[in-house]
């Protein structure tokens, strides 16, 4: 009996005890002793075996995707098509690494079927059949300096879709019409120098010819025109004076323990054409920005704060109604995991106009408040082992009583095929406020991305 119990116990122990894996003697099951596979030849073979599966180093690195998407307005806008989005996009990306430098090309062949009056290809504003995203050369001439020259995507700052010190070009039309988030960032034609020192890291970006935002101009999204005093769309040409002058952007960055501090400077122009010149054309007035940011772990999440002083140098006194006044812009944000696989974040943002009395005394058209406040709330949920994700983000301005809601649902059918659907909603009490003017552009969209 005792023997039986013993046998049973040892059997059950044996049953759950793992056999030795390969490399710890597991190959030789009849031999109770085991030896480490210390023979260098054997491990060399193993190495070859595993690395042999890697493809031969190709001449260059390539990847691409095909992105098909379509969307429709949910309200009727007499100045626009009902179709809000109809893209066939073929993205190609080629890169080549050298010892201490790198060459990157990426560009999209874009069939934009919503824009029936198809423009000629214009690499600067991204219209037409080809959109060049990147074509740059980066190199490390000495160990503490990186230089990147050419067309590139540039981002810095701490906001989530709110930009104070990031004055690199954005594509607001793509962002509001349901293109991939990637396309919120328009490319810059610039030289970026990064200098790394123990005291501080310096990033300096020079853009020889001003890179405007791909701003709202009526061609896809209708807006309130203060000049005409009404809402306008694609039937109203947007006439603006191009700017060919240069821009400078500077960031000094320092990490102390886990906290990231940064100071910023910008010398250039308002990224959207917010001035009106003597000929009644929109233009980009001069703008200097001085700012700072901090980002740090906070109470189990991440907190950030950012500030910028917008010096509208063509209207220092604030009494020119055709040029924006100086502004102070503030942002605080916090992100935290709410429950497993669900992250929540909130931001509070204020734009405060300086010289408001002067603004009021020379005001023409619709009056803006001295301070515009805006809060954002975002929830992101990952499901089914990160193959299904849902994101909802709300921008709401209590001072303008308007807002913007963004919903998106992504499902990765396989590693290479993604299906998605989403919505961009705009609402507001007035047709003249920032979000309110876009109300008739509210849209839903869906599509697929296939990687290859």
């Amino acid at each position: 009996m005792k023997f039986l119990i013993f046998a049973f116990i040892s059997f059950s122990l044996w049953a759950e005890e793992p056999s030795l894996p390969a490399g710890l003697g597991g190959e030789k099951k009849d031999e109770p002793t085991f030896e480490f596979d210390s023979n260098p030849k054997t491990s060399e073979t193993d190495k070859e075996e595993t690395s042999g599966r890697d493809e031969e180093a190709p001449l260059f690195d390539y990847f691409g995707f095909l992105d098909l998407r379509a969307g429709t307005r949910i309200n009727t806008d007499p100045s626009q098509h009902d179709l809000s989005l109809a893209d066939i996009r073929l993205h190609n990306e080629i890169s080549k690494d050298y010892e201490s430098s790198k060459l990157i090309f990426s560009g999209d062949f874009l069939g934009d079927f919503e824009r029936s009056d198809s423009d000629d290809t214009n690499l600067r504003d991204g219209t037409g059949l080809f959109d060049l995203r990147e074509l740059n050369f980066s190199t490390t001439p000495v160990s503490s300096i990186d230089i990147k020259i050419g067309r590139q995507i540039l981002t810095w700052g701490t906001g989530d879709m709110i930009f104070i010190n990031d004055l690199f070009p954005k594509d607001w039309q793509s962002f509001f019409m349901g293109r991939d988030l990637t396309y919120l960032k328009a490319p810059s034609d610039a030289v970026k120098a990064s200098i790394y020192t123990d005291l501080v890291n310096i990033n300096l970006v020079y853009t020889p010819f001003f890179n405007s935002d791909r701003h709202i101009d009526g061609s896809k999204i209708s807006y309130y025109s203060p000049l005409l005093g009404k809402k306008v769309g694609r039937d109203t040409p947007f006439v603006k004076e191009e700017n060919e002058k240069g821009e400078w952007a500077l960031r000094l960055e320092k990490k102390i323990s886990s906290t990231e501090f940064a100071l910023y400077g910008y010398k250039g122009y308002w990224k959207s054409p917010s001035g009106v010149n003597a000929q009644g054309k929109y233009y980009h007035p001069e703008l200097n920005v001085y700012g700072a940011s901090v980002r740090s772990p906070l109470l189990g999440g991440v907190g950030n704060a950012e500030f910028g002083y917008y010096e509208s140098s063509e209207d220092k006194k604030g009494n020119n109604p055709f040029v924006p006044n100086d502004e102070l812009r503030f942002l605080v944000g916090y992100e935290h995991e709410l429950v497993k696989n669900t992250t929540g974040s909130m931001q509070y943002y204020v734009e405060h106009m300086l010289d408001y009395d002067e603004y009021l005394s020379t005001l023409m058209g619709v009056k803006k408040d001295e301070s515009r406040h805006m809060a954002t709330l975002k929830v992101r949920k990952e499901m089914l082992k990160q193959t299904l994700s849902f994101t909802a983000m709300l921008f709401y301005s209590p001072t303008d009583s308007d807002g913007h809601g963004r919903l998106s649902l992504d499902y990765k059918l396989t590693d290479d095929v993604k299906l998605f659907a989403g919505s961009n909603l705009f609402f507001g009490k007035e047709k003249t406020t920032f979000w309110g003017q876009f109300e008739d552009n509210s849209n839903i969209f869906a599509g697929t991305t296939i990687n290859f």
Partner: protein
């Protein structure tokens, strides 16, 4: 006489154990996550769902031990190669011991360095059956450790969490190979005492005289999914500089250090 017998028993016992539970756990933790001053490897994951569909991940991982004390802080740099939608993304972790890790993710198409809020460490790593904590290591002070038994090849350790709230298991058992101090198998039991998750090593290679796990399988028995993880081109003491684990190299991947 009784006294002598007891003494004899104690001595025998002492000899039999020879090594304390804490030492076993520490050595195992060291051999699993802290080998050499630094290390690098190519990692492949094959994730299989209950219907046999496969998803694949591949990335390069660089690691540097930075703690002043033995087996403390570390920095990790992960550079994704596959699938295409995450290709060229980079993930930087400054692993802390008694506080949240610092984590950053770089999205090249936006040139965006996003700081990741300290997430639950027991959630899927890159959509696989491995948790973030399985890849970066679980704090050994978070569990109580008991030696259940010693067999010819293994120390069998039961690990019970000191704080049950943040974890989904009630305990896990580890079969630790007696001479390499590598955990060859782990079994996770849920709060009802049911086995729901297993880890098993399929292959060990000796690299620079260090027995190293090069293939392992994690199974989720409830969801009937599994992930095979394989490491290739493993190297220790590469001479990685701490600079690599900064924003500079998130934006510009350290090509030289990753070509091996």
């Amino acid at each position: 006489m009784k006294f002598l017998t007891m003494l004899l028993l104690l001595t025998l016992n002492w000899n039999a154990l020879a090594i304390s539970v804490d030492e076993i756990v520490q050595k195992t933790n060291h051999n699993s996550y802290y080998r050499g001053k630094d290390g690098r490897a190519e990692v492949k994951m094959v994730i299989k769902d209950s219907q046999g569909r496969e998803r694949k991940r591949s990335f390069t991982i660089l690691r540097l031990n930075t703690g002043k004390n033995k087996d403390g802080k570390q920095k990790f740099y992960v550079y994704f190669k596959r699938p295409s939608d995450v290709k060229k993304m980079a993930f930087l972790v400054w692993k802390q011991i008694n506080q949240e890790d610092d984590r950053w993710m770089y999205f090249p198409s936006l040139d965006l360095v996003k700081r990741i809020a300290g997430a639950d460490k027991r959630t899927s790593f890159v959509g696989s059956d491995f948790f973030y904590e399985d890849v970066s290591g679980r704090n050994i002070d978070a569990d109580k450790h008991e030696l259940l038994e010693t067999s010819d090849n293994y120390f069998v350790i039961k690990n019970t969490p000191k704080d049950v709230v943040p974890v989904e298991f009630s305990y896990f058992k580890m079969w630790i190979h007696k001479t390499s101090f590598l955990p060859i198998k782990s079994e996770y039991y849920d709060k009802a005492g049911k086995l729901y998750r297993t880890y098993e090593v399929a292959k060990v290679d000796t690299i620079q005289d260090k027995p190293t796990v090069t293939k392992a399988i994690m199974k989720d028995l409830n969801k009937k999914t599994e992930t095979e993880l394989s490491y290739s081109k493993v190297e220790y003491d590469v001479g990685l500089s701490e600079d690599i684990f900064t924003e500079r190299y998130l934006r510009n991947p350290p090509v030289k250090e990753m070509k091996f």
